[in-house]
C-alpha cells in the first residue's frame, strides 16, 4: 500500500489522464460522430438543410429589390459608364430613327400650334369687334373697301406699357377710345411676346381691308386706323408726321396720365391731322 500511496509513475499518470479524457469527452465524441455521419450522408444532410435554404430563397425572392437593388444598380451603373462607347454604338442606329420620328412629330405639332395660335389670336381679340368699334357698326366696310386711296380715320397715342390713352383723334365721335387703347396694347403685347419675345415691335395690324398702322416710340406708340391701301412712301410720310408731332406736342415725361394732358394732346392731334393728306 505504501507503494500505491506514493506518487504514480509517468506511465501510470498518462494512463490515468487518458481515462479521465475518455470519461469527460465520450459524450462529445458520440455527437461528433453523429454529425460526421450526417454530413457524409447526402439524404440526411438534405433533410436538415433544405428547409433553411428554401426559407432563405423565399426571403431573397421577396426582398431582393430592397436588399440588393442598390448594389446591383451600382454595378450596372458602373458597367454602363465603363462601356459607354459600346452602348452608344449599339443604340445609335435605333436612336437615330427615334429622333427623326420625334422631330417630325414636333414639327407637325408646331405647325398645328401655329395654326391654332393664329386662330386663337383672332378669336382672342376678335379683330372684327375691334374694327367695328373703330369704324362703327355701319356697313362702311363694304363701301370703304371699294375705295383704294388711304384714309386716316382715327389716331391713338398710347402709353406703351400701361396701355393708357395719352390722346386721340377721331373723324367720327368715339367714346370707347380708352378701352380700345387698352385692347390694342394687349394685342400688341401678346403678339410681340408670342412671336418674337418682345425683341421687335409690331408695326401693322391688318384685317381684311382695314389696317392699324403702329408707330413705336420709346415710351408710347401711335396707332393709326386706316382704310385703303398704303404705299411705302405714304407710310414714310405718315411716320414722319407722327414723329414730328410727338416731338412738338408730347411731353418727355408722361408717367402720370391725367385728363389735362390727354385733352391737350387730343386737341393738338385734331389740329394737325384734320386736314392731313397722307399722299402728300
Amino acid at each position: 500500500m505504501n507503494s500505491s500511496s506514493s506518487s504514480p509513475s509517468p506511465e501510470e499518470e498518462a494512463q490515468l489522464l487518458e481515462q479521465l479524457r475518455q470519461a469527460l469527452l465520450s459524450e462529445d465524441r458520440k455527437a461528433v460522430a453523429a454529425i460526421r455521419a450526417m454530413l457524409e450522408d447526402e439524404a440526411q444532410l438534405s433533410e436538415k438543410v433544405s428547409p433553411i435554404i428554401r426559407q432563405h430563397l423565399a426571403f431573397i425572392k421577396e426582398n431582393f429589390e430592397g436588399e440588393y437593388g442598390i448594389i446591383i444598380e451600382e454595378i450596372v451603373t458602373r458597367k454602363l459608364a465603363d462601356s459607354q462607347d459600346e452602348i452608344v454604338n449599339m443604340i445609335f442606329p435605333k436612336l437615330n430613327t427615334i429622333i427623326k420620328k420625334f422631330i417630325t412629330a414636333q414639327f407637325q405639332m408646331l405647325k398645328e400650334g401655329i395654326d391654332t395660335q393664329i386662330k386663337t389670336v383672332q378669336n382672342r381679340f376678335s379683330p372684327k369687334n375691334i374694327f367695328n368699334r373703330f369704324f362703327g357698326p355701319s356697313d362702311s366696310d363694304i363701301i370703304l373697301s371699294q375705295l383704294d386711296s388711304p384714309e386716316v380715320h382715327e389716331i391713338y397715342l398710347v402709353q406703351r406699357e400701361s396701355g393708357l390713352l395719352l390722346g386721340s383723334y377721331a373723324k367720327e365721335k368715339n367714346t370707347d377710345q380708352d378701352v380700345i387703347a387698352g385692347m390694342l396694347t394687349a394685342i400688341k403685347s401678346f403678339a410681340e411676346d408670342a412671336f418674337n419675345r418682345g425683341k421687335e415691335d409690331l408695326e401693322m395690324i391688318q384685317y381684311e381691308n382695314y389696317k392699324i398702322f403702329l408707330q413705336n416710340l420709346p415710351s408710347y406708340y401711335f396707332a393709326v386706323a386706316m382704310t385703303g391701301s398704303i404705299s411705302t412712301s405714304e407710310k414714310e410720310n405718315l411716320s414722319n408726321k407722327l414723329i414730328t408731332f410727338a416731338e412738338d406736342n408730347v411731353p418727355f415725361d408722361t408717367t402720370d396720365v391725367n385728363s389735362t394732358l390727354t385733352d391737350r394732346i387730343s386737341s393738338a392731334l385734331s389740329k394737325h391731322f384734320d386736314q392731313f393728306n397722307i399722299q402728300q
Partner: protein, 161 residues
C-alpha cells in the same frame, strides 16, 4: 383726372371676370365662360382725394403666373391677385406667384383677394387664413357683391393719394 391701370390675375375660374363685371356693370353671371385673351374695361371712381379713371385688365386665368405674357403686368399701378376660397389649388402657389409678380414690376401694389366668400363659413375662412402663408387683403363675393366696391375703391384711394 388721373388714369391708372389695374390688372386682375390668378388661376382660372376664380372669379376675375365676375369681379370685373360686378364692379363695372353691376352684373353677375352664374355660367362660367372662360376669358380668352384680355378684356379691358373702364370705370370712374370717385374718392375724397379726387377722381380716378380706372382701366381694368381682366386677363385669362393661368395656373402659374409665369404663363401670363410678362408685358401685361408692366405699367400697372395695381395687381389684384384673386384666388377661390373653395379651391386650395388656387392659392397653393401664392408665394411663388407673388414673388414672380414682384420681380416683374417692383413698383406696383399687389392685393390678395379671396373670392366666392358666399360659399364658405367664417370658420372656413379662419382656417384658410392659417393655411395661407401670406396676408389676405380682402374676402369678396362677386355673386353677392360683398366687398367688391371696397376692393376697387381702396385701390383708387391709394392711387390718387
Amino acid at each position: 383726372m388721373l388714369s391708372k391701370k389695374v390688372i386682375l390675375t390668378g388661376s382660372f375660374g376664380v372669379g376675375k371676370t365676375s369681379l370685373f363685371e360686378r364692379f363695372i356693370n353691376n352684373k353677375f353671371e352664374d355660367k362660367y365662360l372662360t376669358t380668352i385673351g384680355v378684356k379691358v374695361g373702364k370705370k370712374l371712381v370717385n374718392t375724397d382725394k379726387g377722381d380716378l379713371s380706372m382701366m381694368i385688365w381682366d386677363i385669362a386665368g393661368e395656373v402659374a403666373q409665369n404663363k401670363v405674357p410678362t408685358s401685361y403686368f408692366l405699367g400697372t399701378s395695381g395687381i389684384i391677385y384673386v384666388f377661390d376660397v373653395t379651391r386650395p389649388s388656387t392659392y397653393r402657389n401664392i408665394s411663388e406667384d407673388l414673388e414672380y409678380l414682384k420681380s416683374i414690376n417692383k413698383l406696383t401694389t399687389i392685393k390678395v383677394v379671396g373670392n366666392k366668400k358666399d360659399l364658405v363659413s367664417q370658420e372656413d375662412l379662419d382656417k384658410l387664413l392659417e393655411e395661407i402663408p401670406l396676408p389676405v387683403n380682402l374676402f369678396t363675393s362677386a355673386k353677392t357683391g360683398e366687398n367688391v366696391e371696397k376692393l376697387f375703391h381702396d385701390f383708387a384711394v391709394e392711387m390718387v393719394g
